[in-house]
Symmetry: C2
Subunit: 206 residues, 2 copies
DNA sequence: CAATTTCTATAGTGATCGCTATATAAGTCG
DNA sequence: CGACTTATATAGCGATCACTATAGAAATTG
């Protein structure tokens, strides 16, 4: 009896659903949506299928909870980096550097759940959820860049998303934090150039 | 009887194995290794499981053939871009631009099979093959960059790999060729800066 | 022709997938 | 206490996974 809410009738839960969401997040991030079975989650939580379905409804519904929790918790660094001091290029520099730190392998977890959690999945429901989350992230980036570069906000968002995609993929392939940071810094400089350029980069090599 | 080799005894094949490898490549690229079943391939080829196993041995063995064919054919653009005229930065500019073109969705296919074909897969054998192919690609990049930048060849390879990873991932997420090209050009400029820089970028904004 | 070789289809292996029908255990409430 | 409510476990659903045992069909060879 992990949860103990007074005034509730019926047999109490033998596990904490919030902790279960965290456990599931870890599993989904390690193996991807399709790579984790309901049986795996059940084993990790010490529960059997009926308890799982009574608590979460379905594997997809649990994944939705995991994604919401992920975005609201771990994923906060994105809006935080974007809304910090300085211009768009400063924000992107913070964002990519932070991503390089966070995406690097820690406790068997690497990369971003939203970016890579359902890659190659054949589950339409899970794919649709991720599409929504990615669209929301793109809108967030675009809105930030549009404040200074309304004309090319969309292109700038594409560059940042592709950079984040690359960092997450390399992290999942085992890249070290130092390796990721090198790419992050290079891409951040590329972004800064892009915010300046009309045609090519207006810089002069010394 | 697609194949007709004279002098062979026994019942002839009802399908062309080389064409089958191409068909399988398409399927693997569309849905990933785990997303394609032997039954799917059989249906696409109009054959039943015994014919499949008689010809290829196993799903993993077919995938190995697909990867070899992919690297030897489609994947030639990588060494070709690297060995063209100019310095490393010129080579990377060609490489990333070519990748942007090729990775963009065409006939339902997007991204790179080596980069994303087994992402989130739970098949150890297929994963091991991809690890080998990725290592070979990294070595190729590193060797090219080491000719001009022996000290930082490894870091430069990391940047290019992360850029390619990003382009492939964004392509699989549906990015247009124009979008990918914008990122490719930005990353190529970042790479050029990196080949010049010791500390930060030695440029002056005009 | 018959013998040999090779590929073919039908059917089914055991394992795993997400999910559930049934019954029981473990609580609160009157 | 009994009535009620909720969560639990055992067992199994149909579907799909990679793969195979068996036997027959289609070619070359003597």
């Amino acid at each position: 009896m992990t949860t103990k809410k007074v005034g509730t009738r019926g047999r109490p839960r033998s596990f904490d659903p919030a902790a279960a969401v965290e456990t599931a997040q870890t599993l989904f991030q390690q193996r991807g949506y399709d790579g984790v079975g309901v049986a795996d989650i059940g084993k990790a939580l010490g529960i059997t299928p009926p308890s799982f379905y009574n608590a979460f409804g379905s594997k997809a519904a649990l994944f939705a909870q995991v994604l919401d929790s992920y975005t609201a918790g771990y994923g906060r660094f994105v809006p935080e980096a974007l809304e910090g001091p300085g211009d768009s290029a400063d924000a992107v520099d913070r964002l990519l550097a932070e991503a390089a730190c966070r995406y690097a392998t820690k406790d068997g977890i690497a990369g971003c759940l939203v970016i890579d959690g359902v890659r190659n999945s054949s589950d339409a429901e899970a794919l649709a959820m991720i599409v929504r989350h990615k669209a929301a992230s793109r809108d967030m980036l675009k809105a930030r860049f549009a404040r200074e570069h309304p004309e090319k906000a969309d292109g700038l968002a594409s560059i940042v998303i592709t950079a984040l995609n690359g960092l997450s993929a390399s992290a999942r392939d085992g890249a070290s934090e130092a390796e990721l940071m090198l790419s992050a810094k290079a891409f951040a400089r590329a972004f800064r150039e892009e915010t300046r350029a009309s045609g090519g980069p207006r810089v002069r090599v010394l």
